[in-house]
């Protein structure tokens, strides 16, 4: 099956700190988890390679500190990578390592190709803008100028995520956590992106609200065929959403497979502890 991934990441590395004699050499470095105890450098992402295919939900699971958010922030250009390549399958961008593009081109990709839902809504929303204003901001960034169509799409999106329209003028800081996540999702979708990143969208929400947000994500994927990378430390979330799953530990990928295989026949010792709830 010769299928083109819509996003292809090769050997993404991200370190915080300059490294030292003890840790610069990948093959000989000795780390405490992801951290060099000599110089304090954190190797947050180590040689991450992955492919995201059209219309799929790819799950990323791993414990706190395993580098999931750092990876997402690198992909979304919030953080520069230390090294590595990423390719987006798209006529305009074919064959170009997007990590090396100018900041203007990166902004273009964020505005037109990507949507992001952050672990913390404060990062994804302007809390002192109205809800509709938050969505309009992203629409304008994506080149929309027609106020009437922007409002129409904005209302549709809010309806879609079950935010009552009479609250569209309110600032999201008045909203519950679940509502804020749903506004983030509406905002992320407002430029109609082919690729959506979701970082712990349900963490910290009540179970019933969680279910609500998960159903919403599933429905969006079914109806719009957007490709998504979903990060969570919660296996139940991954089990419900993802067809394929990657397991991360200390900044590296240790295992990947079909989600049901990861759950029922985990290979790596860490994945087994995770799945059998021995952690």
């Amino acid at each position: 099956m010769h299928e083109q991934p819509i996003l292809c990441v090769r050997n993404l590395n991200k370190q915080f700190g300059g490294g030292c004699q003890d840790c610069r050499e990948t093959s000989t470095r000795k780390l405490e988890r992801n951290y060099c105890s000599t110089c304090g450098t954190v190797y947050a992402c180590q040689d991450i390679s992955l492919e995201l295919f059209p219309g799929e939900i790819l799950g990323i699971v791993g414990e706190s500190g395993s580098g999931k958010s750092t990876m997402m922030q690198c992909l979304y250009f919030d953080e520069p990578v230390t090294s590595g390549d990423a390719y987006i399958h798209d006529v305009e961008l074919e064959g170009q390592n997007v990590f090396n593009l100018s900041s203007q081109k990166k902004r273009y990709i964020r505005n037109h190709k990507y949507g992001m839902v952050y672990q913390n809504p404060v990062k994804g929303l302007k809390m002192n803008f109205s809800t509709m204003g938050n969505i309009a901001e992203k629409q304008i960034a994506a080149g929309n100028r027609n106020v009437t169509t922007m409002e129409r799409t904005g209302s549709e999106l809010l309806e879609n995520v079950h935010i009552p329209l009479f609250r569209a003028k309110e600032e999201p800081r008045n909203f519950s956590g679940g509502m804020q996540q749903r506004v983030q999702i509406a905002k992320a979708l407002s430029n109609n992106p082919p690729i959506l990143f979701l970082d712990e969208v349900t963490t910290g929400l009540d179970l019933s609200v969680q279910a609500n947000v998960l159903d919403l994500i599933k429905r969006i994927q079914r109806e719009s065929g957007i490709s998504m990378i979903v990060v969570s430390h919660d296996l139940a979330v991954i089990r419900m959403l993802a067809d394929r799953t990657i397991v991360m530990l200390n900044g590296a990928i240790i295992e990947q497979g079909l989600t049901d295989q990861i759950m029922e026949d985990p290979q790596h010792a860490y994945t087994q502890r995770l799945v059998y709830s021995l952690l």
Partner: protein, 240 residues
């Protein structure tokens, strides 16, 4: 020509925190032609489910080959296909039914069947009518169509399960104890369903602890005893 050929198949499990490795099955050989029905028999723990789950890639196969003659890809080894290829086959060619209903929460019977069809890129209108046909065909009470299956009886769940797996008309259907824990009447119903599937040309691999019940339907029986006995002293590891 063989639709499925399992050759020298073996599967080990390593449980790291116990520091143990066990051979669940070894030297499994069988093959079946298009439209045939093979029943797998053997005592509890002999590895029957392991074989089925490995064909479906819920377990990662480790030795041997599982050669499947696919519509889309031609002859391929299911032990080695990529994840994406396996997902394609699950959507379009290979179905799996276990005695347990393993479905998304908060999704009605009707939605579950429609979803299976939508995954195959059937238009929504066709999915709707086909789903209703399937619900009728498997004699699911109308009041259950828009209900959540977690409250269904064992027999109802199973019929829904089979409906979900078969609306897509899989070429190969894997059945893991579909009659276990059913009353006689429901069992008869399931047998009728299997009979119909077979008449439609579906190739079937099934596990039945009461294989006599499938008398006259099964073309072949594979007895787990015909393979070397798994290492029993370690085999108790995961039971209980």
């Amino acid at each position: 020509m063989a639709l499925l050929e399992v050759k020298n198949f073996g599967k080990q499990f390593t449980i790291h925190h116990l520091g143990k490795t066990m051979q669940a099955v070894e030297n499994i050989h069988f093959s079946l032609d298009k439209g045939e029905f093979i029943g797998i028999v053997g005592k509890s723990g002999s590895g029957k489910s392991t074989i089925l789950k490995s064909i479906y890639r819920t377990y990662l196969p480790d030795t041997g080959n599982i050669v499947y003659d696919s519509n889309r890809f031609g002859k391929i080894d299911l032990a080695k296909v990529t994840e994406r290829e396996m997902l394609y086959l699950r959507k379009h060619e290979i179905g799996y039914v276990s005695q347990f209903l393993n479905v998304m929460p908060r999704t009605t019977s009707r939605q579950l069947i429609e979803k299976a069809l939508l995954e195959m890129e059937e238009p929504a209108t066709i999915a709707k009518t086909e789903a209703e046909k399937a619900l009728k065909h498997f004699e699911l009470d109308r009041k259950l169509w828009d209900a959540y299956p977690n409250t269904f009886s064992g027999g109802e769940k199973l019929r829904l399960n089979i409906a979900i797996a078969t609306v897509k008309k899989p070429r190969l259907l894997l059945l893991d104890e579909p009659t276990a824990s059913l009353d006689q009447q429901s069992k008869v119903k399931v047998r009728e369903i299997i009979e119909k599937l077979k008449a439609d040309g579906t190739t079937l691999v099934g596990i039945f602890h009461d294989i006599e019940f499938m008398d006259g339907l099964c073309d072949k029986v594979y007895d787990m005893k015909s393979s070397p006995v798994p290492l029993q002293e370690e085999g108790v590891l995961c039971e209980g």
